[in-house]
């Protein structure tokens, strides 16, 4: 267990002081920036709409996948590419401890970043008079669980992808912005194969304005929309599957790390 704690702490430190956090911070600053720029110009009535569209648009479509790409994809593959993995696997600790520790570190950092961004956005919007309307449709407490579950699902999946593939970046980007962006927005049964869909359902069901938003985006077009609980279970399932694949693949792989040029 000490090993898990050690690797967790070190990975946390790597993620927090790494360069990649800048990308995530930029993505986090984006909705806040938009809100700050747009806020003064807009009529008060639109404030709920902005809150939901920024959450549904920027957070779900950009921030979550980007956080997972930045933090989760490289958890294993970065250490492989740099060759530092050698120091982790030639120590008397079972291999799965490394995967679990790194996964926990991701969860901690991703949660913190998403909550910070969400609180930041909320705070900026609340500066406007009459912004209390946000809480009527559902504030942070309403949207946060869905966003965090989304981050967990993406993280688990990308941890798996980053362990199985040697250069996972392209796979990750294509999945996050190609597959997800496409399938998640096409009406019909295929969107059940995308992660965004479940996140949107959870947000939609938790907020009044979100429900309208869902209808606007043809997310809720009548029949067969899963319940919030079912969505949550699917998201957690994806996470667990990703982590399991990562542990399995990491344990089996032989890392012949060669001299880095």
């Amino acid at each position: 267990m000490t090993a898990v704690w050690l690797v967790f702490r070190h990975t946390l430190w790597q993620l927090v002081w790494g360069k990649k956090i800048l990308v995530v911070a930029a993505a986090a600053a984006l909705p806040i920036g938009i809100a700050a720029l747009v806020g003064p110009v807009l009529p008060d009535d639109d404030i709920q709409k902005i809150w939901i569209s920024l959450v549904m648009g920027v957070f779900v479509q950009l921030m979550l996948p980007l956080t997972a790409i930045a933090f989760a994809l490289g958890l294993i593959s970065d250490e492989v590419e740099r060759g530092t993995l050698l120091y982790l696997i030639t120590r008397p600790n079972a291999k799965w401890t490394v995967v679990v520790a790194k996964c926990l570190a991701y969860l901690a950092v991703a949660t913190a970043m998403i909550l910070l961004a969400l609180i930041g956005l909320y705070a900026v919007l609340r500066l406007k008079p009459g912004a209390a309307a946000i809480d009527e449709v559902g504030g942070i407490a309403a949207v946060a669980p869905a966003l965090l579950l989304g981050a967990i699902a993406y993280g688990g999946l990308f941890l798996g992808v980053g362990t199985v593939f040697r250069k996972p970046m392209i796979v990750g980007v294509i999945f996050a912005f190609g597959w997800e962006g496409l399938l998640g927005n096409i009406p019909g049964q295929t969107r059940l194969l995308s992660i965004v869909y479940y996140i949107r359902i959870m947000i939609g069901r938790a907020t009044n304005e979100g429900t309208r938003f869902m209808q606007g985006m043809h997310v809720d077009d009548g029949v067969g929309v899963p319940s919030a609980t079912a969505s949550a279970i699917v998201l957690i399932g994806i996470f667990l599957a990703g982590v399991a694949i990562a542990i399995w693949s990491f344990g089996r792989k032989q890392y012949a790390l060669s001299r880095v040029q």
Partner: protein
């Protein structure tokens, strides 16, 4: 250094001893049991059946000979395609517990660059299972041992190549392993550093630890240990003490250069012996080049000859008795 070279049997080994594989000793620290490993179509090592005895062993071979594969196999980074690798009596693949007893200094130049040297070594010590307090003491002791104390609080990213090498060594020794595997530990070190690390390796050997060290610089290997393991094209070519190996290679006559007062007189005497197959007088008529097929007999004879004839032999050297010659003969 305080160790005297162990006395060796002076009996000549018969020619038939040539290329008889040494018996594999199953209790040796490292035992490779008919191990092969290939990467896809490419073969890394081929049917290696050898035991590496305790003490310091130099691992030699040209680039691409399979040294790195052998080291990866010994340290459990990869699994043999065939055969079994046992280290310190345990199987290494998928056996994390063995790393309590093995230390590895890889040839990779990779670090978590933003850690300080101290943090790095301490982290590896903690991963090896030491408590926070123990890990700190051990890290400090090892950093001192590799003479990095003055730079321990600087980031590894700002270290010179030699310092990075030292920090890797400290990391390999921090948990007091029984077997230390050093892959090219002298790379990037300056002459002073080289001398210190050579000294360190010998010290480890004297403390009763087992060391496998690979290097391209043959005279430095010679300075660390007389015992080598020579690998070429994925197979073991020779294993044992350099001078014994040289004695076993009889297809190449041993060349000896002698400098003395009266070269012609000495030449005449030498030609009387049937193991001497060629005597040549160098241009300056001050040096002889002698070739013998039974160096042992030859050397036994020289003191008597020198005293008897009274020709002052000022110098007698052989470029064929060192590691360089062995290497070049065996690695064609």
């Amino acid at each position: 250094m305080t160790t005297n070279p162990q006395p060796e049997p002076v009996t000549m080994k018969p020619a038939t001893m040539k290329k008889t594989p040494a018996p594999v000793d199953p209790s040796a620290p490292v035992v490779l049991n008919h191990v092969s490993r290939w990467y896809g179509e490419v073969i890394g090592v081929n049917d290696i059946d050898v035991s590496i005895p305790g003490g310091v062993t130099g691992l030699l071979g040209p680039n691409g000979a399979g040294k790195t594969t052998l080291i990866r196999l010994m340290t459990g980074q990869i699994r043999p395609s065939k055969g079994e690798v046992r280290v310190l009596g345990e199987s290494v693949w998928n056996n994390p517990g063995i790393y309590r007893r093995i230390g590895l200094c890889p040839d990779l130049d990779s670090f978590w660059e933003t850690m300080t040297g101290y943090e790095f070594v301490r982290y590896t010590a903690r991963l090896a299972g030491y408590s926070a307090g123990d890990a700190s003491t051990r890290a400090l002791a090892q950093l001192d041992r590799v003479k990095l104390t003055h730079a321990k609080d600087r980031k590894v990213g700002g270290y010179s190549k030699g310092m990075r090498q030292r920090v890797k060594l400290a990391q390999a020794m921090v948990h007091d392993p029984e077997l230390v595997v050093l892959d090219e530990p002298l790379t990037g070190l300056d002459p002073v550093g080289r001398r210190e690390v050579i000294e360190l390796v010998r010290e480890l050997g004297e403390q009763g630890r087992h060391v496998v060290v690979s290097s391209h610089i043959l005279h430095e290997v010679e300075a660390m240990t007389p015992r080598i393991l020579l690998i070429h094209r994925g197979r073991i070519v020779a294993a044992g003490e350099v001078h014994d190996i040289r004695a076993m290679i009889d297809e190449h006559p041993h060349r000896i250069e002698i400098e003395c007062d009266d070269v012609r007189a000495l030449a005449r005497r030498l030609l009387e012996f049937d193991d001497v197959i060629r005597v040549a007088i160098e241009d300056d008529a001050k040096r002889l080049r002698v070739e013998t097929v039974r160096p042992d007999d030859f050397y036994s004879r020289v003191p008597e000859l020198a005293i008897e004839t009274g020709i002052g032999i000022e110098r007698m050297t052989s470029s064929d008795d060192n590691l360089e010659a062995v290497f070049h003969y065996l690695v064609k």
